[in-house]
C-alpha cells in the first residue's frame, strides 16, 4: 500500500530556519541541513523548504541550500519561495531538488505551470495555495496570506491541475498557527475534486489532528512545522499512533 506521508516544513531565511506564527513574527529554529538530517532519521517521509530570503542573491543562496541538503539527506525534498521562471527551477533541479513549489508566480502567470511541467515533468511541479475564507468563500491569497486575489481556491486548484501541477500543497491561513487542527472540510472538497496528490497544511497542533485529516479527507500527506521543530510531536510517536488507527505509514 502507498503510505500517507508526514512532511516537516522548514522556513528558511538567509540560510537559517525560521517559523512564523501566522507567518508574521519569526523565531530562529536552527540550521536547516541539521534539522533536515534529524527529521530523516526520525522517519519523516519528505521535507519542504520554503525560502523567504528577500535579497538579490536569493537564487544563489537557495541553490547552495539545496546542494547541502541533497548531499546529506536520503529522502525527497521540495524547495519553494520566489521561483518565478524556468531558469530558477532549472538551477534548483540541477542542485538536487526533487520538486519545486510555486505559489504567487503561478497565480500571476498561470502559463508558468504549463512551461514547468513541459520542461521538467509534472512530478517536479508542486503548486502551493494559501487560502483564507472571505464571506463564506475560499479565496486564494498571496504574499504569505496577506494579499487576497480574485481567484476562488477550488477553481484555481483545478486549473493548476489541468495545466500540469503534479501535486497541491494547500495551506489554510485561517488554521495556520492556531494548532486547532487542519481545515478538513476544504481539504476533503479539494482532495475529492482532483486526481493529483494533496498535501494538507495549516493547523496541526496534536497527534489527533493528523489522524483526523487522513481519516476525514483521505489527503496524501500532512505538513507541519512548529509542532515538529519544538518537539511537541515526535514523528515516531505520531506514526505509531497513525498505524494503530489503521492509517498506512512507513515505519
Amino acid at each position: 500500500m502507498l503510505s500517507k506521508r508526514i512532511i516537516p516544513c522548514l522556513d528558511v531565511k538567509d540560510g537559517r530556519t525560521v517559523k512564523g506564527v501566522n507567518f508574521v513574527d519569526l523565531r530562529d529554529a536552527g540550521d536547516p541541513v541539521e534539522l533536515a538530517w534529524n527529521y530523516s532519521r526520525q522517519g519523516a517521509d519528505e521535507l519542504v523548504f520554503l525560502d523567504i530570503t528577500a535579497t538579490v542573491e536569493r537564487r544563489k543562496t537557495m541553490v547552495e541550500l539545496v546542494k547541502s541538503v541533497a548531499r546529506q539527506i536520503n529522502i525527497p525534498f521540495t524547495i519553494g519561495g520566489g521561483i518565478n521562471e524556468i531558469a530558477d527551477a532549472d538551477a534548483l533541479l540541477n542542485a538536487g531538488a526533487d520538486k519545486i513549489s510555486i505559489n504567487s508566480a503561478a497565480v500571476r502567470n498561470p502559463t508558468l505551470i504549463d512551461e514547468l511541467a513541459k520542461a521538467f515533468g509534472v512530478q517536479f511541479v508542486v503548486i502551493a495555495v494559501d487560502t483564507r475564507r472571505i464571506d463564506d468563500k475560499n479565496i486564494v491569497h498571496l504574499n504569505g496570506g496577506r494579499l487576497p486575489t480574485e481567484r476562488q481556491t477550488l477553481e484555481w486548484i483545478k486549473e493548476a491541475e489541468s495545466r500540469g501541477a503534479g501535486e497541491i500543497l494547500l495551506t489554510s491561513m485561517d488554521h495556520d498557527g492556531t494548532k486547532n487542527g487542519f481545515d478538513n472540510g476544504l481539504l476533503k472538497t479539494v482532495n475529492d475534486a482532483v486526481h493529483i496528490p494533496v498535501i494538507a497544511s495549516g493547523g496541526a497542533g496534536a497527534v489527533q489532528h493528523f489522524v483526523d485529516v487522513f481519516e476525514k479527507t483521505n489527503v496524501d500527506a500532512a505538513l507541519a512545522a512548529s509542532v515538529f521543530h519544538y518537539g511537541e510531536i515526535l514523528i515516531p510517536d505520531l506514526k505509531a499512533i497513525l498505524k494503530s488507527n489503521n492509517i498506512e505509514v512507513r515505519i
Binding site: S3, D45, N74, I75, P76, G96, D98, V122, H195, D220
Partner: protein, 196 residues
C-alpha cells in the same frame, strides 16, 4: 568502479551524492571507450521515456549497452528504457526485456503520478535485495509502470494494479523507485549493487 551512463536525461546530483555518502566510487560514461574502465554500470533517467530514448540514441551508445555483460542497473526511466516499448510517446525502447511500459489509469483512489513510499515484495531471491525485508518501503514518483511479468519481475508492488518495482534478466537490473531517495534501504540497495 561504477560507471554512470551520461546521455542528458535528467539530473544525477542526488544519485552521485548518495554514492559519495556510501563511499562507492563512480565515474562517467560518455563514449563507447569508457565502458571498459568500469566493472558495473548505472543508467539513470527522469522525465519522458520517449525523449530519453531519443537522447540515448544520439549518444551512439545503444549497441554497446545491449551487449553489456557486467552488472547494469537502470533507475526509474533508466529502467523503463530497458523494456521493449513505452506508452509514453508511443516509443520503441532497448528491448533487453521483452515487456512493456504502460500508463497508470488515474482515479480518485489512485492518483497519477504514483507519488510516495510504497511497499515492495521479492518475487525471486537476488543479492540486490540482501538485508532488505519483504514489504520495505521505497520512494516512487512515476506515471508509467512496467507490467508485471513472471519471468522478469524481481520485486512487485501494487498501485491499482500489480507492477514491476524491479526487473532482472542476466546482468541487467532495473528499479522503478529512486534508491537514492529511499532512506536506509535505498542506500542498502546501492551498496548491494556495488558488490554484485
Amino acid at each position: 568502479m561504477t560507471g554512470i551512463i551520461l546521455y542528458g536525461a535528467g539530473n544525477i546530483f542526488s544519485l552521485t551524492a548518495a554514492l559519495e555518502r556510501l563511499s562507492i566510487p563512480y565515474g562517467f560514461i560518455n563514449s563507447q571507450e569508457d565502458f571498459k574502465k568500469f566493472d558495473r554500470y548505472i543508467i539513470p533517467g527522469v522525465g519522458h521515456a520517449g525523449a530519453a530514448m531519443d537522447k540515448l540514441e544520439k549518444t551512439g551508445l545503444v549497441p554497446a549497452i545491449k551487449e553489456l555483460k557486467k552488472p547494469t542497473l537502470g533507475i526509474c526511466v533508466g529502467m523503463q528504457l530497458l523494456t521493449s516499448y513505452s506508452e509514453e510517446g508511443n516509443s520503441d525502447l532497448l528491448n533487453i526485456f521483452p515487456i512493456k511500459t504502460l500508463r497508470f489509469q488515474d482515479s480518485a483512489d489512485y492518483k497519477v503520478p504514483h507519488t510516495g513510499w510504497n511497499q515492495v515484495y521479492p518475487e525471486k531471491d537476488n543479492p540486490l535485495f540482501k538485508n532488505i525485508p519483504s514489504g520495505s518501503h521505497f520512494y516512487f514518483v512515476h506515471s508509467y509502470f512496467i507490467e508485471y511479468d513472471k519471468t522478469y519481475t524481481l520485486l512487485s508492488a501494487n498501485y491499482s494494479t500489480e507492477f514491476s518495482a524491479s526487473i532482472w534478466h542476466d546482468n541487467f537490473y532495473g528499479v522503478q523507485f529512486h534508491p537514492e531517495k529511499s532512506g536506509v534501504y535505498g542506500e542498502t540497495l546501492l551498496t548491494n549493487f556495488s558488490k554484485l
